[in-house]
């Protein structure tokens, strides 16, 4: 017997020479909704977006309809999906966004059909397969070479796959660092901070994040921008400019989830296999931490699926990491508790970090070290000694 069923139907008709009419239905065990709009064939701009609910969940879901007009004027070319998630998904409802994305796909497929029909007028013999092959070669020639090169070339990536030379590592006088009101004489660092534009999902600049960290009394922060390597020089300049300890780290996406790396400065892109990452980091004497290992879902928790710390300890992920982030500012208490229980059960050290993407959450959680940290080398040494624990800071 099926526990869940979702059906989606999308159809596209050609209203006139210039216009397509799109109609979509999503009907599943939980929701039922419909979308309808028009698309201008020449530029794929959509208009007249209308939708309605037939079944929904919360008493406030009907509000979603008022925000569907946000899609008005969207150009449904490939690559629009993210924008649909961010506008329709966030302001209206993720299920309307899901259906809208299906509709966009249907429109692009329809345009292929129309283009083939046009090509048949010149060459009645051309099959759809042949047409698609020609179309593919044409679009490959169009796309500019070197597009890959502009990825993530911000102010200061190390770019080359070489670890930065040790000599450039900055030492600072710990006595002058941060705020004297440090809690219980501990040295407190937010180990997980994102900045804009290095992390596309972050909204505040590195300067703003550092100022806020300093203002609330942290002693330092680690920059963990996603798959982005700061140069030692840039980070040292930031430390001097703000008279505040700023250290480099990284948050790398693996098939097992996000991993925080310390003492490892290779610029990795895409998805790295955790086993490969572990080897690379171990080769340069670095340290890896499982970030938010139980970050789960919006509507249910680990308890709802029957996950227990004992069963979770067996996860492949924990065989590779040197430590576990047990206080992460972006997950629920239950998810942090699960991480804590697993780390304790496995005898792995725990860290804390805000995972802040804007200044309002810098330092909500952090890691308190027993000793003064004044450089990336001393951070790494301390991480390996295990003399620290996660703290609620803000």
């Amino acid at each position: 017997m099926f526990d869940f069923m979702r059906n989606k139907v999308v159809d596209v008709a050609r209203l006139d020479r210039e216009t397509l009419e799109v109609h979509g239905i999503l009907d599943d065990s939980i929701y039922s909704l419909e979308l309808c709009f028009k698309v201008n064939i020449s530029d794929l701009i959509c208009s007249g977006v209308k939708g309605r609910w037939l079944r929904w969940t919360t008493p406030e879901c009907p509000r979603a309809i008022d925000f569907l007009h946000e899609a008005e004027g969207f150009c449904l070319k490939a690559g629009i999906d993210n924008k649909i998630h961010k506008t329709i998904g966030r302001k209206s409802c993720r299920h309307f966004a899901n259906l809208f994305i299906e509709c966009g796909h249907a429109v692009r497929e329809t345009v292929k059909l129309l283009n083939w029909e046009a090509a048949q007028k010149e060459n009645p013999e051309i099959t759809f397969k042949q047409f698609m092959r020609n179309d593919e070669t044409a679009s490959m020639a169009e796309s500019s070479p070197g597009m890959d090169n502009e990825k993530k070339e911000l102010s200061s990536p190390s770019g080359t796959n070489k670890p930065s030379p040790k000599k450039t590592e900055h030492k600072r006088n710990a006595g002058s660092l941060g705020n004297p009101s440090a809690k219980k004489g501990k040295f407190v660092i937010d180990m997980h901070v994102h900045t804009s534009p290095a992390s596309p999902c972050a909204s505040d600049s590195v300067d703003a994040m550092i100022q806020e960290a300093r203002r609330i009394g942290l002693q330092g922060i680690c920059l963990t921008d996603h798959n982005y390597v700061w140069s030692a020089e840039a980070v040292q300049a930031l430390s001097e400019k703000h008279d505040f300890l700023v250290l480099r780290a990284n948050e790398i996406i693996t098939e097992q989830g996000d991993i925080l790396t310390f003492g490892f400065y290779e610029n990795l892109q895409g998805i790295t296999r955790l086993a490969d990452l572990k080897k690379k980091v171990a080769d340069v004497g670095g340290f890896i931490v499982a970030a938010h290992p139980f970050r789960g879902f919006l509507t249910f928790g680990a308890d709802d699926v029957g996950l227990t710390p004992d069963s979770a300890m067996a996860r492949e992920l924990f065989k590779w990491v040197d430590g576990v982030e047990t206080l992460n500012g972006k997950v629920t208490e239950t998810e942090n508790n699960m991480a804590r229980d697993v780390a304790n059960g496995l005898g792995l050290p725990s860290t804390g970090g805000s995972d802040a993407h804007d200044i309002s959450t810098v330092g909500v959680y952090a890691t308190a070290f027993d000793e003064v940290i004044d450089s990336e080398a001393s951070l790494l040494a301390a991480l390996k000694q295990g003399k620290y624990h996660p703290v609620v800071f803000r």
Partner: protein
């Protein structure tokens, strides 16, 4: 112009069932004017990791994807959880031909998430007041819902309690 005759039609069905040992099998089938495709995943519970995957794909213009199985096998062990889409795309590839099959893997995963969501929602009361408190508690328990859709937008009734608590606790 025969504007009452469709140019393009699409039909997608995703279904989820419990199989032996409590794992979930999620199947996404697509039939549209050009495509006939299917992806089947098995998700190990309670870890929620993809532990088996298979599928087929035929497109009228592209034909089949030669290395489909290799692409599918690349997501073995991925956990169904927030952030999975980026991982699935990264492991399977992002070329145009691959996008539909990547989407179908994602739909299978969403099916699993919605199956578990449905179980939680079955506990929601039927009366309005009961619903308000049920969903207010849900957003309090899972802060990532806050301001992520119209129903839980800033300043709306279901997040009022959460916002009041924040105002008290913060500052």
């Amino acid at each position: 112009m025969s504007n009452n005759i469709l140019k393009f039609a699409m039909n997608r069905n995703t279904s989820v069932e419990k199989i032996n040992g409590g794992n979930l099998r999620s199947v996404c089938r697509l039939r549209d004017t050009f495509t006939d495709a299917e992806v089947v995943i098995e998700v190990k519970m309670p870890d929620m990791e993809i532990c088996a995957i298979s599928g087929y794909f035929r497109h009228a213009g592209w034909g089949e994807i030669e290395d489909l199985d290799r692409r599918l096998q690349a997501v073995m062990g991925v956990r169904v959880a927030a952030g999975m889409l980026k991982i699935i795309k990264g492991l399977m590839g992002e070329e145009e031909k691959i996008q539909q099959i990547v989407y179908m893997v994602e739909e299978c995963c969403h099916g699993v998430i919605l199956t578990l969501t449905r179980k939680v929602l079955l506990k929601a009361p039927d009366d309005e007041a009961g619903k308000v408190s049920f969903y207010s508690n849900m957003v309090k328990k899972s802060i990532r819902l806050y301001d992520r859709c119209a129903a839980f937008a800033k300043g709306t009734p279901l997040v009022a309690e959460l916002e009041a608590e924040k105002a008290k606790g913060g500052a």
